[in-house]
Symmetry: C2
Subunit: 335 residues, 2 copies
């Protein structure tokens, strides 16, 4: 099933079930008002939503209406946890290589992860409001999962069983604020503002064979100002799968229902062409493009995003059908 | 007024109003079921709770019952945000001096702050469960505030207006896991497990003149295994007041109702005695005691907490009355 949250003026919005082809939707009223309620009581409420989803996909839901992504909040408009990993080591390798640094050996066994802000998540079409262009505004196209309860000390395999839903995320980053916060060692407070999520959150059964071993084997498209800059494979090069990321998170604490765990920037390795590296899949954040330029030419030539810039992040299935709907945002100054 | 959340088997518990002297309580049913509900709609609901509080303090509430801190969850059993500052620079100075490092000048103008786990908060008398004693189990006695909505870009003075309630916190730290996470720069994911909070959250008017300029001018008592180890003044040596901490947090994002912001370990400067530093106020975390020992003797002699150890954190007013009730926890292995 596919679930979304419609804006209704409240902080948590209104839960809707969306058809597989994203054409129609139906309020979940009578089953649950919010997605958090469903996650809190998954075994009881999810089957009821599955039934509604089935009826909707058959075109037999009596109060169905056309689905409009622009009316969506994030599937979880506020969450009790947003922990974002850096599961594609190629991203870390690229950025470090560009600044002449190596990747510590431990990074291949111990995931990088930061605790992000979760009291306000952005809807898929909400503007990204930033006080200044000088902050180095960047997008980061990612895959994210929503969990049920996962107890402290769970293994990666046990943690996989705790995954309830999958979404896409735009983990907006303010690159010029990152070096100072990295140096302090306390993580990202000012350099990672509110994250945006795809219109719908999708259950694992709905993903079919594309969901395999805690990885999503589909292509993540990033389109910046109308130009397709990324067509990155999210599956094979994910160094740590989502079970490993969640197990890292719950080493010393319980992870509770409604936690969101992110993959970090989806990133693919270069191929060699005439003795020079070449990145045919493109990039899922501008920092990577700048790293590629630095590796090739000694300096970056692509600037970060400006007010009015536009970013679209989407993933399509084998038949070319959008799976999650598109994150579709414009960068804007603080009003 | 004083508010607490009683355990009732649910994830969010049941809101109760507690009398000023912490002797009696009354369910807030009919006004609100949870504290988050109140914070979401403060201007409408808080006056109704104030009325009930007034009646309760007069001994005229018809369904009052004896208040039992052991039945409390954290006032917010799960929160959308827990951002913990390090507002007492003396704490940073001490720990750095012990390892022969200096404090960067920027630390005196730009607060240290990390985004902490908030999907599961511990009640005041809940056990602190840790997988291993080898992790270096430490308490950290702190003051914390709960906010309403504070918009992106708010000044420290505007941010002060967004403070709704004050609590005490035990920001449990796993010291042996901290160096590796600090080195990664991404903040604390495994080394800062679930935080515990005092039985009650207290409104600003209830604190009277002790709440002044965004600082709480009372003494924070820490008692470790029955021995009073800290009697630290929380007011005068707080380098950044809570308005400054919140303004730091909302530089690039909105802060939404129900966010919790912590002060970091309350810490007082040494005094000179016979040419050696002396800390008459004691300490609010063991890491500080070990830093003091290292400064005096070249090495620490106090070990971290063991299973079965006990920590009590409390604050009393000018008349010796407990303001927030006591955090009163035992360290225990993972069941």
């Amino acid at each position: 099933m596919k679930l979304a949250t419609y804006k209704d003026g409240s902080r948590d919005g209104q839960l809707v079930v969306v058809s597989r082809d994203l054409s129609t939707a139906h309020y979940a009223t009578g089953i649950a008002h919010t997605l958090q309620q469903v996650l809190d009581d998954w075994n009881f409420l999810a089957p009821q939503l599955e039934d509604l989803s089935h009826t909707l996909n058959l075109g037999k839901a009596r109060h169905a209406f056309p689905f409009e992504p622009a009316r969506c909040m994030a599937p979880l408009p506020r969450a009790y946890q947003w922990a974002d990993g850096s599961a594609y080591l190629n991203h870390v390798e690229l950025v470090r290589q560009a600044r002449g640094a190596t990747v510590p050996e431990s990074f291949y066994t111990d995931p990088l992860m930061y605790q992000g802000v979760s009291d306000e998540m952005l809807g898929p079409c909400d503007e990204v409001r930033v006080p200044s262009e000088d902050f180095g505004i960047d997008f980061e196209a990612e895959v994210a999962v929503v969990t049920g309860d996962v107890p402290m000390g769970a293994t990666p395999e046990q943690a996989l069983d705790g995954i309830r839903l999958v979404m896409l995320a735009n983990d907006v980053s303010l690159r010029q604020l990152i070096p100072d916060e990295l140096a302090k060692g306390f993580g990202f407070v000012q350099s990672k503002p509110a994250t945006a999520f795809s219109p719908v959150a999708v259950s694992l059964d709905e993903l079919g064979p594309a969901w395999d071993g805690g990885r999503l084997h589909l292509t993540l498209q990033s389109t910046w100002n109308g130009r397709k800059v990324g067509l990155c494979e999210a599956g094979p090069e994910m160094t740590f799968h989502f079970g490993q990321l969640i197990a890292h998170l719950c080493k010393t604490r319980n992870v509770r229902a409604g936690s969101i765990v992110g993959s970090g920037t989806v990133s693919n390795k270069s191929v060699d062409k005439d003795g020079r590296p070449h990145w045919p899949k493109g990039y899922s954040c501008i920092a990577e493009k700048r790293a590629m330029e630095t590796i090739l030419d000694g300096q970056p030539s692509t600037g970060y995003m400006k007010f009015g810039d536009h970013i679209r992040i989407e993933m399509k299935d084998a038949l070319g059908q959008s799976v999650f709907g598109a994150i579709d945002q414009t960068i804007a100054p603080l009003a």
